[in-house]
């Protein structure tokens, strides 16, 4: 039997689990620079390196949410700065549809964040992680809500 106070404590202690897909050339390097610059940000995110955000399939995001991620971050090069010329633009073109799929799977699209952070934008990367964490904290632990 869980008492109300205990339940409250559990909720207070809850920390969102964030999976972050970062492209190797911009955002992963930006996250490296955040470390090198000793920029401090919350520990919730686990970075998974892909060559390019263009590699990211909606399945990767849906699978993460399915397995219990409270939020998913996708971080790539700025439009026009893609190491592979246009992979990020291909992802951007797919993004509206991806958000729709996420919504249809019963997950609030606010749990997913797309951001651009270059290799020199360590602060922007760290701020983006923090923004998603705050967004997810407002929503609480992952749950499905079909409308």
């Amino acid at each position: 039997m869980v008492t109300a106070t205990e339940q409250q404590t559990v909720e207070e202690q809850w920390e969102p689990r964030i999976l972050a897909y970062c492209c190797n050339w911009c955002s992963y390097a930006g996250a490296d620079l955040a470390g090198t610059s000793r920029i401090q940000y919350p520990t919730n995110a686990r970075i998974l390196r892909v060559n390019c955000t263009g590699r990211i399939n909606v399945e990767f995001i849906l699978a993460a949410l399915d397995m219990g991620a409270d939020g998913v971050l996708v971080s790539g090069c700025h439009p026009g700065d893609c190491h592979y010329t246009s992979g990020n633009l291909k992802l951007q073109a797919r993004w509206a549809l991806m958000e729709r799929s996420i919504e249809q799977s019963g997950v609030n699209p606010k749990r997913v964040r797309l951001q651009w952070a270059s290799a020199s934008e360590a602060q922007i990367f760290a701020d983006g992680v923090r923004t998603l964490i705050n967004q997810v904290k407002e929503l609480g632990p992952i749950e499905r809500e079909w409308k």
């Binding site: 689990r17 999976l19 190797n24 050339w25 911009c26 992963y28 390097a29 996250a31 490296d32 620079l33 955040a34 470390g35 090198t36 000793r38 920029i39 401090q40 940000y41 520990t43 686990r46 970075i47 998974l48 390196r49 892909v50 060559n51 390019c52 263009g54 590699r55 990211i56 399939n57 399945e59 990767f60 699978a63 993460a64 397995m67 219990g68 991620a69 090069c77 026009g80 700065d81 190491h83 592979y84 010329t85 246009s86 992979g87 291909k90 992802l91 797919r94 270059s118 290799a119 020199s120 760290a126």
Partner: protein, 581 residues
């Protein structure tokens, strides 16, 4: 998971001295790693990249017959090549190695949360171990390098690089969009630290370049198509006069597209009067005789120089940087013109005469009674014109006084900014640009002349604002980089390319349009035709694999299975052995 292949994975957790171990409990990470599936050995060492650390990895691979290795240390962007080499030396394929970033991504950015950082480290190692179990060995491929360098832009840097490479016995194609070679430097009437004109300095170099048997100079020409990969670029050069195109086989490329002198419109009344000019325009005036004022031809007696025009303006994008050449250049120009003028002032924000011999110019200017006056960062001098008469008002910081001066001419030390077609050039060669607008090097400290496009180097002011001496140093460095590649004759390329599973392909052409490199075509020998990847053209971005609606494309070393195994290992880890929930 249906298939359960047993693997023998070794995990090496690095302290990196105090860098990782100071925050992350490396012993706990290593202990936990022992319980992860397929891990047969786990340890933690002080410096895994040191000789002893490398030796330990090699020894353990042999002793325990490890078939996968995970090192949890710094960023793979730093030491992945090192550890790939180490496992290879012990007979393991380099693609059976995986690295966890515990330093840049954990200890350095979570310094005040050691427990949470340790938890994150454990998760990341578990993810990497899961990925390692899914890795497959890939062939190591090498390609031949065409012994010919393309140099884009024939300014002082381009010509220097061309001569260095040609002297070493390799062919050079020197492409210049203008009708003559020499670039910005050729236009100047004096180039510090010498007393010579730019043309005088360049003349022997240009003569040699034009007559060298290994150098082909193509003026009035631009690159229209850039295709291929390191050692085997296919470059189309278009002549803007004849519109003729020529396709060249190129091994290495040096981009020396230089800078543009920033036209400081909207600053200090530039263009209001011909007597307000940039330093570049002033440099082009004839200094031999008495200088004459452009507006009325009267002799120039009073001159004011203004520094940091379009440079070091933190609030304006593309103008945050220091242009580096101006402090020394105006010191020299002011000292020179002081011989003919009664009063010469330099209005500055800060003075940075940092280079070899530059401090001497500053002292020379001082000795000749050039007046230096410092204005505040947030209150730039105010230039007005009344009946053709120029006037400057400013606050002198050191005397805390409001000052006024009526010069005959005003010379603006305007910033170095990238040329107008820089975005086009960046796109052509797959280069990225930094905040100042110039091209990004591969690494700002360790690899300032190479770029993330293998085989493409940058030099001179294409890389950042700098003076001619520094541009020449760059040029020789980039030339050495190009030559060392070509001298080797062949280079290893990544095997991480896309592969089509023909049986799954539904011939929809989605991947053909997704590929930015024209690496995917339709194999017409099959009925129906299915997608086919030309591996040499594939850069490994994986955009096609994500776009394929039939999951018919496998991205080697970044397969769906490898990625999803990491996701699962983070979010739904298997219960540790002997425990269980």
């Amino acid at each position: 998971m249906t298939e359960q292949v047993e693997h023998r994975i070794g995990v090496f957790v690095c302290h990196c001295g105090h860098n990782i171990a100071g925050t992350v409990d490396v012993e706990a990470v290593s202990d936990q790693a022992n319980s992860f599936p397929n891990v047969v050995y786990s340890t933690h060492t002080m410096f895994t990249c040191a000789d002893s650390g490398q030796q330990l990895i090699r020894d353990k691979i042999k002793e325990l017959n490890l078939d996968r290795v995970v090192v949890a240390s710094c960023s793979p962007r730093m030491h992945e090549p090192t550890f790939r080499r180490v496992v290879e030396e012990a007979g393991l394929n380099r693609y059976l190695y995986d690295q966890v970033n515990l330093r840049e991504h954990v200890s350095w950015c979570h310094m005040r949360e050691p427990e949470l950082a340790t938890q994150k480290a454990i998760d990341l190692v578990r993810m990497s171990v899961a990925r390692a179990a899914k890795l497959t060995a890939l062939p190591i491929k090498t390609v031949k390098i065409e012994p010919r360098t393309l140099i884009v832009g024939a300014g002082i840097a381009g010509i220097r690089a061309a001569l260095d490479i040609a002297e070493r016995g390799f062919e050079v194609v020197l492409v210049e969009k203008e009708s003559t070679i020499g670039g910005n430097v050729a236009k100047w009437n004096h180039v510090f630290p010498s007393d010579k004109t730019g043309a005088e300095i360049l003349e022997p170099m240009i003569r040699k370049a034009n007559s060298h048997k290994n150098i082909r100079v193509m003026t009035d020409s631009k690159i229209s198509i850039f295709d291929g990969y390191v050692g085997n670029f296919e470059v189309t050069v278009k002549n803007s006069k004849t519109n003729k195109e020529e396709i060249l086989d190129i091994g290495t490329v040096i981009v020396t597209t230089g800078f543009k002198s920033f036209p400081p419109v909207d600053r200090y009344g530039y263009k209001l009067s011909p007597d307000i000019m940039t330093l570049a325009e002033f440099q082009e005036m004839d200094v031999k005789d008495q200088l004459k004022r452009p507006s009325d031809g009267k002799p120039i007696k009073k001159v004011a120089f203004i520094g940091c025009v379009g440079s070091r303006e933190p609030e304006i994008k593309g103008h945050e940087h220091c242009s580096r050449y101006c402090c020394s250049a105006i010191a020299k120009a002011a000292a020179d013109i002081r011989d003919h003028a009664d009063e010469v002032l330099i209005l500055y924000q800060d003075i940075r005469t940092y280079g070899k011999g530059h401090e001497e110019f500053y002292r020379l200017a001082r000795a000749k009674h050039v007046i230096y006056t410092k204005f505040p960062k947030n209150a730039k001098p105010d230039v007005t014109m009344d009946n053709g008469k120029l006037s400057i008002k400013w606050h002198d910081v050191l005397s805390d006084d409001e000052l006024k001066f009526d010069p005959d001419i005003i010379v603006l030390a305007s910033a170095m900014v990238p040329p107008d077609d820089v975005a086009e050039t960046a796109k052509l060669f797959g280069l990225t640009r930094s905040g100042d607008g110039f091209f990004n090097p591969e690494h700002i400290k360790l690899a300032p002349l190479t770029t993330h496009t293998a085989g493409v180097m940058i030099a001179g002011t294409a890389q950042a604002a700098k003076n001619a001496t520094e541009a020449v140093v760059d040029a020789s460095g980039a030339a050495a980089k190009a030559v060392s590649l070509m001298a080797k004759g062949e280079v290893e390329i990544e095997s991480t390319v896309a592969q089509v599973l023909p049986d799954l392909c539904s011939s929809c052409h989605t991947c053909v349009t997704a590929c930015a490199y024209n690496a995917i075509s339709m194999d017409e020998s099959r009925d129906p035709p299915v997608a086919l990847v030309t591996e040499a053209k594939c850069h490994g971005c994986g955009t096609c694999a994500a776009a394929c609606p039939s999951s018919a494309i496998t991205m080697l070393h970044s397969t769906d299975g490898q990625i999803l195994a990491m996701v699962e290992a983070y979010l739904c880890p298997m219960a540790p052995e002997g425990g269980g929930v």
